[in-house]
């Protein structure tokens, strides 16, 4: 067994005898660095936490951190470097869907193992990737269910023009129709192909869009008759001009709540929370979860930040958010699977993962499923003026389901 593990690891140098190499593949420079460096930080914290308790199968984790630099082809090269040169046992990484799509063939070619932690659009299941991320039915669909319960009858879809918002909104479009919402009550516009099939639902803006006057005027008109909500998949800092315009036009969260899928606690470090108070967020973890496990997690992370010597780590005003916790959970799930398999071998670890491995994380219990996704709790929160969320509803043990398109029967 140890021989197999050593073989799989390609143990060469002397200190590797009692360490196991683990890859961290995130953008530490470029546009995505703001979000992704937080994930590197939480991963390093988690490794230290595990190492302090004796490591995995008696081996200390030795992180190999590489920089994807917000450059998607570079992600593939770095992944290849991790797998071929460093021979890592597992990789934790990627944020954008396009970076994941870029490394996917590499992991399949070299039979690597990647844990992907950020909410995404689904419609994918690679045997070499485990998605600790929120699938669409663990974020967008519970949010819509909640709004329907609140008596919302009209939905306006808006997002940044790329794969995640487009796919998520198409799924939501089908879902809303199946819930009996008439087409004219779904705002933002539809695009159809020659055969009349809807290929795009919602209003899309380029990355970094700065002028939302026209869109907000449209939303104001759309919500004039009441009971309307906005489903927002705008990514990154374009949310600032959107919410500023929204507030300035006199719309409030009571007239027309906005539920956003890309704004977590971490984003509020750069967003004025004042403009978003009362609007909604939906994630599988909030920093405000009132549980001993979460309190301990936050305190431990802070203590680690205070004493860490990793260069370039921001130590002030740090928060925890869903992608961070899903990264953290990923490491522990992998650890549990390795211990269950008694080996670092990718095929054996995968078998253990598919057999169902659980971890009591800061956001509640998560369990792996046969379809490479997780069963976990989903929370809906309302933004407070300090950039935290107050939890107003939770859905327990939601099963992650990547393939949703075309599964909703029309009523």
């Amino acid at each position: 067994m140890t021989a197999a593990a050593a073989l799989a690891l390609g143990v060469g140098s002397a200190p590797a005898e009692d360490t196991v190499k683990v890859g961290v593949l995130h953008s530490l420079s470029g546009t995505m660095a703001i979000s992704e460096t937080s994930l590197r930080d939480i991963l390093l914290f988690t490794f230290d936490e595990i190492n302090a308790k004796g490591g995995v199968l008696g081996k200390k984790i030795e992180p190999v951190v590489v920089d994807g630099a917000s450059d998607w082809p570079l992600f593939a090269e770095k992944a290849e470097q991790l797998l071929v040169q460093d021979k890592v046992a597992v990789t934790f990484g990627c944020w954008t869907s396009v970076s994941r799509k870029s490394v996917l063939p590499v992991y399949e070619k070299y039979n690597g193992l990647l844990f992907y932690p950020v909410q995404y659009e689904g419609e994918e299941m690679s045997k070499n990737i485990f998605y600790t991320a929120e699938a669409v039915n663990q974020q967008a669909i519970p949010a819509v269910d909640f709004l329907l319960e609140e008596g919302i009858k009209k939905f306006y879809l808006i997002g940044t023009d790329y794969v995640y918002p487009q796919t998520t909104n198409l799924v939501l479009f089908e879902y809303l129709l199946s819930k009996g919402i008439p087409v004219e009550n779904i705002g933002g516009g539809l695009r159809k192909d020659a055969s009349g099939k809807v290929i795009s639902a919602g209003n899309y803006t380029p990355f970094g869009h700065s002028d939302f006057q026209q869109i907000v005027a449209d939303i104001k008109k759309f919500s004039a008759s009441g009971d309307a909500a906005v489903i927002n998949t705008i990514n990154g800092d374009a949310n600032v001009p959107f919410f500023k315009e929204f507030a300035a036009s006199g719309l409030t969260s009571e007239d027309c709540p906005v539920v956003s899928f890309s704004i977590s606690e971490d984003e509020f470090r750069a967003l004025p929370a004042k403009d978003l108070v009362g609007h909604l967020g939906c994630w599988t973890y909030f920093m405000s979860i009132d549980s001993p496990a979460n309190k301990k997690f936050i305190a431990d992370f802070q203590a680690w930040l205070n004493k860490t010597e990793v260069p370039g780590i921001v130590k002030e005003k740090r928060v925890t958010c869903s992608p961070m916790v899903l990264s953290h959970n990923g490491v522990y799930i992998w650890k549990a699977a390795v211990e269950k398999a008694g080996s670092f071998d990718v095929d054996k670890v995968r078998e253990a993962l598919l057999g169902g491995v659980s971890f009591e994380g800061p956001g509640g219990k998560v369990t792996t499923q046969k379809n490479h996704h997780l069963t976990k709790n989903v929370y809906i929160g309302e933004t407070l003026e300090n950039g935290q969320f107050s939890i107003i509803k939770s859905f327990d043990n939601v099963v992650g389901e990547p393939f949703l398109k075309g599964t909703f029967g029309k009523k």
């Binding site: 700065s210 001009p241 300035a248 750069a270």
Partner: protein, 548 residues
């Protein structure tokens, strides 16, 4: 006093007779209870109108009420948080709590009830805008309970705008709650009012009545009524849609004007440094960022000095505007003295040098302020809006339009009505000739560049109110700036004004038709085509020098 006894006594007295003390005591007891009883008690408050009730309800809704157990006291008391401190709701006395009182956060369901009560109270508000908003909401709820209140209040309104809102609300409510005759009259009335909020409801009635009119099994009189309803609905929809088209045209004009003003502010500094002086200033965007960061610093200073949300804090933006101009102008002087004055005859080198400086500045922002954007909150007076004939005009947009006008006029006066302006124009036309005639051209160069940089700083200050402030914010605007200047005709300030307005208008008119992504692409394509046919821009510079 138990809650119900208190409420009953209160209702029995009628609010005009209830003393403020009684109202206060009752409110305090409601705030500190919970559950079903609390929701019902809150709902019952809607019939009363003491101003303290409105204040407390509004504060409660937004998290401004706290519970607090004073040391040595008899139990919990409810506190109202005001900018100048805490007040005990029950007694109206000021309280200085030790430690932080616990905020009482109403649940989402209770907040809805609170909002409804606030709206009911607002029907009698002295502020016309609050009355209008309240009437609109209660009307749209189509709750039959509110119909009598709305009707009573309608008679009392003298302000025509408020009267219109109440009229609209009554008619919308009648659509659901009136007799068939009233319904018919309401549809016609709403059509005459051009009521957009009622559009969906009327459309639903039209569909319903079209089916009823075709129903052979129904009684002839009900079929006749349905047919009349259908006809009235079709007419009303025509009126509403026709009006909406007009509103949209005006709205697009306004939005085009405001986008044009933003572009103008962003590009005007460049029109001076690049257009007039001929310096290809790639660091223009970073001067915009300097303006944005100055606002951030000024905001921080006001927040610590006056405290957030105070009247003093609200004025921070007015001080930040001149500050951002001066700071950016100061950096402009450094750049001109340190680098650019050696490069006036070498435009290509000035491009490379300023590009390098732009990168240095971006890294400097990252080092000093961090890689993430910084949050700049807009003052309250800039983040609200009003409506003129259905077009929403937000104050920050009006402010930018006025400000752009001010910048154009001030620059024009400065360049054409002052002796400094004369020297600037002379120097820019021919540096050697001007200096041989006694103009201190080095000084003129420096101040002109500083002025252009200062204008960029002002643009950044404004952008902080509608967008992001971050290390790479300049990059977002540098392309737009060059676009505006080149389209307008290099060296022509009026051309820059006209081209920014034109680009803003075209962009906003295309967006509703093509969407933001295709709209942007179309605008850029149109600009390429335009430059193919008019490479000198709208107003090409005419020159007698031989090398042109």
């Amino acid at each position: 006093m138990s809650l119900w006894a208190g409420l009953a006594a209160f209702a029995g007295l009628g609010w005009s007779h209830a003393t403020e003390e009684e109202a206060r005591e009752l409110l305090a007891s409601i705030v500190l209870t919970s559950g079903e009883e609390q929701a019902q008690a809150v709902e019952a408050l809607g019939g009363h109108g003491d101003s303290i009730i409105g204040t407390v309800i509004e504060a409660w809704r937004v998290g401004g009420i706290s519970s607090y157990t004073p040391p040595g006291g008899t139990g919990k008391i409810a506190l109202l948080k005001e900018p100048e401190g805490y007040t005990d709701i029950a007694t109206g006395e000021k309280v200085v709590p030790q430690g932080d009182p616990v905020t009482i956060r109403p649940s989402r369901a209770l907040r809805k009830t609170l909002k409804k009560v606030a709206d009911l109270l607002d029907l009698a508000s002295p502020d016309p805008a609050a009355r209008i908003a309240a009437a609109e909401k209660l009307g749209l709820s189509q709750n039959p309970d509110y119909l009598p209140v709305l009707r009573d209040r309608l008679e009392m309104q003298t302000n025509p705008k408020v009267r219109r809102a109440f009229d609209e609300a009554v008619n919308i409510s009648l659509l659901a709650n009136g007799t068939p005759q009233e319904q018919l009259a309401a549809v016609t009335a709403l059509g005459n009012l051009r009521s957009y909020p009622a559009r969906d409801l009327i459309e639903a009635l039209r569909v319903k009545n079209a089916e009823a009119a075709d129903d052979d099994g129904a009684a002839p009189e009900s079929r006749a009524h349905a047919a009349a309803m259908q006809a009235a609905a079709v007419e009303a929809l025509g009126q509403i849609d026709g009006h909406q088209k007009v509103v949209e045209v005006y709205g697009t004009l306004f939005r085009g004007l405001s986008l044009g003003s933003v572009l103008l502010l962003v590009a005007y500094g460049l029109a001076i440094t690049f257009g007039l002086m001929g310096v290809i200033n790639m660091a223009h965007g970073e001067f915009i960022a300097i303006g944005g960061y100055t606002v951030y610093l000024v905001q921080g200073w006001f927040a610590t000095t006056f405290g957030e949300g105070t009247a003093g804090y609200e004025t921070y933006f007015l001080w930040a505007l001149p500050a951002s101009f001066l700071v950016a102008a100061f950096f402009g002087i450094i750049l001109e003295r340190g680098v650019i004055r050696f490069l006036y005859k070498r435009p290509l080198e000035s491009l490379l040098a300023t590009w390098g400086i732009s990168m240095i500045l971006q890294q400097a922002f990252r080092l000093h302020f961090g890689a993430a954007n910084v949050a700049v909150a807009s003052p309250q007076w800039l983040s609200s809006s009003f409506e003129v004939a259905g077009v929403t005009m937000s104050y920050n947009r009006l402010f930018v339009i006025g400000f752009a006008l001010f910048v154009i006029v001030a620059t024009w006066l400065l360049l054409t009505r002052t002796s400094w302006g004369l020297h600037v124009r002379a120097t820019m036309q021919n540096r050697q000739m001007a200096s041989s005639l006694g103009v201190r051209s080095a000084r003129v160069n420096m101040l002109t560049f500083a002025f252009g940089s200062g204008l960029a700083g002002l643009a950044g200050a404004f952008i902080s109110q509608i967008g992001n402030v971050g290390p790479s914010m300049g990059q977002t605007y540098i392309v737009d700036s060059f676009m505006v200047v080149v389209i307008g005709g290099v060296g022509n300030l009026a051309g820059a004004a006209l081209s920014s307005l034109g680009i803003g208008m075209v962009d906003q008119s295309l967006q509703p038709l093509l969407g933001p992504v295709m709209g942007k692409i179309t605008v850029l394509l149109a600009i390429i085509l335009f430059l193919q046919f008019k490479p000198g821009g709208l107003f090409p510079a005419r020159s007698r020098s031989l090398d042109d």
